[in-house]
């Protein structure tokens, strides 16, 4: 009896023992001890070179009024050139720079998508207008043929700004027809801008923030549209706002029919160079609009936008394998050498997106600015950017302000600023002293911090790097928490985090008064949309307000220097980078784009394809 009990329980005991052992192993493995030394990083030569090129682009802003018809000369991004054709020569058309463009052919793009809905006024992703803009036109546009992308006419062919800069009047082209055959009038443009600037209750309008000072939109006659401003803003800011490709013109009738909500309307008439053919889960197909108002354009017979996610290997593979002709979403490691492959070219684009590491100001210990400063001192931004350099490129540069604009801090200066350079011995010592001063000597008194991240490849790599730097530099423990992509935005906005691996905001208008306000300011009675660090300071709001209403460019730059110092002291979050890089890749037979190997700064604004032709 005893023997049998023993032998039977021996088997189960063995199982239990094995299980227990494995449990112990796994528990040990689940939280391995973090013993990590953060070492300083030598910036690779390549990156230094790249930044140097950008430095040359930083020039004075210069608003040129009443200039020549076609503005194609070397101008940096911020130097917004306003082409105002003279009354005698009111026909401006975007034509390919090549003397003999060919017509015909199918253009297949690797397009990030499909979009979740079709209402681009409520969309913040290129999945929408990256594919929808060929079917529509905007008021003004950016010239896609050169890397300076100056502002040029689109539906508006000339315009006037009143002396007090409080009235903008645009003359609309005559004879422009929607795809359903009806004529475009200023009523359509008014309806569109009313949808953007004054959305009815319940409608989302993401570009509303571009026009906070517009008080009314009028259509005095069929071919004139007038914007009344409550307060003057820098002219260049206004022109950027009017020229963004996000603000495509819909038909008044359509907007009325759907009460401004176009979420499920994929085929409503536009005036653009291409017309809707079909759309499914694989692609969105469009065909040439033979009645397009610009003579000869478009040159392509058919566009197939093939859905491929940004920065995925599939996207690169599709281009290399000839399944697509063009894509703008090559992963940086793939994009850097694609120009060396026979038949292929690349262009580098800097998207004006601002990134930082949000520290939740509402929670301890980040309610104390000394703690925030200590974090900024030990976090090595350049190393954190290097970590993700192969999968999602962002360039170190600009400091607090967008790189490539007159506000951006030059790299030589950044290397001197203690919050941006590689942490030195003194920086680490200072950080520890600050932490002790704030009442947390050697990290004591700070509970394990919640490091919120989402399941994307770059965050998967960056989160452990941040974790290691904080442990080594300040002896602060963090726990990485992966939040599902679908819940991540809500979670961050609700303030359910201590540190977020990445926060960002668009610099739609490359002026600190726009994006710094969005990130750290108040908008009316609440915090601005991008203020996910929950930073509040009346002094900051005062400085931003002063910068916002200042019209003189030189003064603005002076004021921004003061703002940078203030930001250093306040450290609302840890700044990382100010532009995000993506590589365009395309085959030789795609013609009409800006020169190969260009390096340009813009958001998503060059996707109308009326200027592209195929040489096959």
């Amino acid at each position: 009896m005893l023997g049998l009990r023993a032998s039977k329980s021996a088997i189960w005991l063995l199982i239990c023992a094995v299980t227990a052992m494995l449990m112990a192993v796994a528990c040990g493995a689940a939280e391995p001890e973090v013993v990590t030394v953060v070492e300083t990083v030598v910036v690779t030569e390549e990156i230094v070179k790249e930044v140097e090129v950008e430095k040359e682009v930083i020039k004075e802003v210069e608003v040129v009024r009443e200039v020549e018809k076609e503005v194609i000369k070397e101008v940096p991004i911020e130097k917004v050139v306003i082409a105002t054709p003279s009354p005698t020569d009111e026909v401006f058309y975007v034509r390919p720079l090549d003397p003999f463009p060919k017509s015909g052919g199918t253009f297949r793009t690797g397009a990030h998508g499909p979009p979740a809905h079709f209402d681009w006024y409520a969309s913040g992703t290129i999945a929408n207008h990256g594919v929808q803009s060929p079917m529509y036109d905007a008021l003004l546009r950016r010239d896609p043929r050169t890397s300076d992308v100056p502002v040029i006419p689109d539906l508006a062919h000339r315009w006037d700004v009143s002396a007090d800069q409080l009235t903008f009047t645009f003359d609309i082209r005559e004879g422009v027809k929607f795809h359903d055959g009806s004529d475009l009038t200023s009523e359509d443009i008014k309806a569109t801008y009313d949808r953007i600037i004054f959305p009815r209750e319940g409608l989302v309008s993401l570009r509303r923030t571009l026009f906070p000072n517009v008080s009314e939109v009028n259509a005095p006659d069929d071919y004139t549209i007038e914007f009344k401003l409550s307060e003057a803003r820098a002219l260049s800011n206004m022109m950027v706002a009017f020229s963004t490709e996000w603000n495509l013109i819909s038909k008044k009738e359509t907007l009325e029919q759907y009460d401004g909500n176009l979420r499920e309307v994929d085929d409503h008439p536009g005036t653009g160079p291409f017309k809707y053919v079909e759309r499914n889960d694989d692609q969105w197909v469009m065909e040439k609009n033979v009645d397009y108002w610009s003579p000869d354009a478009p040159y392509i017979d058919r566009i197939e936008h093939i859905w491929l996610k940004a920065w995925t290997p599939e996207n690169t593979a599709a281009l290399l394998g000839g399944q697509t002709d063009w894509t703008m979403w090559l992963a940086p490691k793939d994009g850097k050498d694609i120009g060396n492959k026979p038949g292929l070219n690349s262009i580098r684009q800097h998207l004006l997106i601002w990134h930082g590491i949000p520290l939740n100001n509402k929670r301890k210990p980040f309610d104390d600015k000394r703690v925030r400063q200590a974090f900024a001192l030990v976090l090595d931004q350049q190393a954190l950017l290097d970590v993700t350099a192969d999968v999602k490129a962002t360039l170190f540069g600009g400091g607090w302000f967008t790189d490539g604009t007159p506000y951006g801090l030059p790299l030589s200066e950044l290397e001197q600023r203690k919050y941006f350079r590689h942490p030195t011995e003194e920086d680490i010592a200072e950080a520890r002293a600050l932490l002790a001063e704030a009442g947390y000597p050697n990290g004591q008194g700070i509970a394990k911090l919640d490091l919120a991240t989402r399941e994307t490849i770059n965050q998967r790599l960056r989160a452990p790097a941040i974790q290691a730097m904080l442990k080594e530099g300040l002896n602060i423990d963090t726990e990485i928490r992966v939040i599902d992509v679908s819940a991540h935005g809500e979670e961050i906005k609700a303030g359910n985090y201590d540190i977020a691996v990445e926060g960002g905001a668009w610099a739609f208008i490359p002026d600190p008064s726009f994006y710094i306000k969005d990130l750290f300011g108040r908008c009316g009675d609440r915090l601005c949309d991008g203020n996910t660090a929950f930073y509040e300071n009346p002094e900051m709001d005062k400085k931003l307000r002063a910068l916002e209403v200042e019209l003189d460019q030189a003064k603005k730059i002076e004021m921004s220097k003061d703002l940078a110092t203030f930001l250093d002291q306040e450290m609302p979050w840890v700044p990382l980078d100010t532009t995000e890089i993506t590589y365009w890749g395309y085959w030789d037979h795609v013609k009409g784009l800006m020169p190969a190997n260009s390096d340009f700064y813009a958001n998503y604004e060059l996707h109308k394809w009326d200027y592209v032709w195929l040489d096959r």
Binding site: M1, G3, L4, S7, K8, I11, I15, V18, T19, M21, L22, M23, V25, A26, G28, A29, A30, P32, E33, V34, V35, T36, V37, V38, E39, T40, V41, V42, W311, T312, P313, T316, A317, L320, A331, K333, D334, D380, A383, D386, V387, D390, V391, T453, E455, I457, R460, L461, A463, P464, A465, Q467, A468, I480, R481, V482, D484
Partner: protein, 295 residues
């Protein structure tokens, strides 16, 4: 009287197992060798803190994606962590997830199948419908949905994979229980008035042990692939914890990944699956060849 019965049956069972073990070694020496490989992998995982040359979380921003050399035999990963150390530590997670989920799933399934098979009747019929419902969803898809619901993490992955293993246990053990139920000694036990729980625990369960062991080993390989697939689809164990599937997922973000990021974790997955599969097959052939058609 009753104890003699049990002693005889269990003794017979043990000697049969020993015989089977001898048969196993003789009949499938290859399987035995692979069993040893599996054991080495498990030992390697257990001893990871001792044998790994580096801290798997130690980043080195001067040595990101460095190729294999004398300093790091398998190279370093995207943020300069030693790949060999990460693979050794990764073995802990991959093996633990596999062993724990199969053990959990097969045990629950086994008990379920035992009870359902032994009791029979309406209980059996209803419980078999439940098994069929779970079985109607392909394993990876069910696990995918469950991890989505519960959020990615080691324990949620274990539970999700375990759920997908339940029906297998329930089916196989049920069929064994059904046949054991009809044997003379169970009838005899019933005759002398033993309770149902007692009969199930004392008389039926021991007979189910061999199939249980086989099920356990045979499913290990499958489960390791499921775990790697989940990680590949972006539902793996959270960083910074190293897992083989997660390393593959991180590497496959590029069209031309660094070969060492891809090669080593892949080889380890393949070898582990190979070892468990072959060992399981050998074990099955030796212990209970009847199960061949069903597993």
């Amino acid at each position: 009287m009753e104890s003699v019965d049990i002693r005889e049956s269990v003794n017979a069972n043990i000697s049969r197992s020993l015989d089977a073990f001898r048969v196993f070694i003789r009949r499938s020496p290859f399987a035995a060798v692979w069993g040893v490989v599996g054991l080495i992998l498990v030992l390697m995982a257990v001893a990871a803190p001792i044998i790994s040359p580096n801290d798997p979380l130690k980043t080195d921003f001067n040595n990101m994606s460095a190729p294999p050399d004398g300093d790091s035999y398998f190279g370093t990963d995207q943020i300069g962590r030693d790949l060999l150390s990460r693979i050794l530590y990764g073995a802990r997670i991959s093996l633990f997830v596999a062993l724990a989920s199969v053990l959990l799933g097969t045990t629950i399934g086994g008990v379920w199948g035992l009870v359902s098979g032994y009791l029979g009747g309406l209980t059996d019929m209803i419980s078999q419908r439940f098994v069929e419902i779970i079985m109607a969803l392909p394993g990876l898809i069910l696990a995918f949905a469950l991890v989505l619901v519960m959020g990615a993490g080691m324990w949620t992955i274990i539970v999700a994979i375990a759920v997908t293993r339940v029906p297998f246990g329930a089916r196989i053990i049920r069929s064994v229980a059904l046949s054991v139920k009809e044997t003379a000694y169970v009838e005899a036990a019933r005759g002398i008035g033993a309770s149902q729980v007692r009969i199930m625990a004392r008389h039926v369960a021991p007979q189910c042990f061999a199939p249980f062991l086989i099920l356990f080993t045979v499913h290990l390989g499958t489960v390791i692939v499921i775990e790697a697939s989940l990680s590949f689809l972006g539902l793996g164990v959270s960083p910074p914890t190293p897992t083989w599937g997660g390393m593959l997922g991180e590497a496959s973000a590029l069209l031309y990944p660094f070969w060492w990021h891809v090669f080593f974790p892949g080889v380890f997955i393949t070898v582990t699956v190979l070892a468990f599969n072959l060992f399981g097959d050998g074990l099955r052939d030796a212990l209970d060849p009847r199960l061949r058609g069903t597993l």
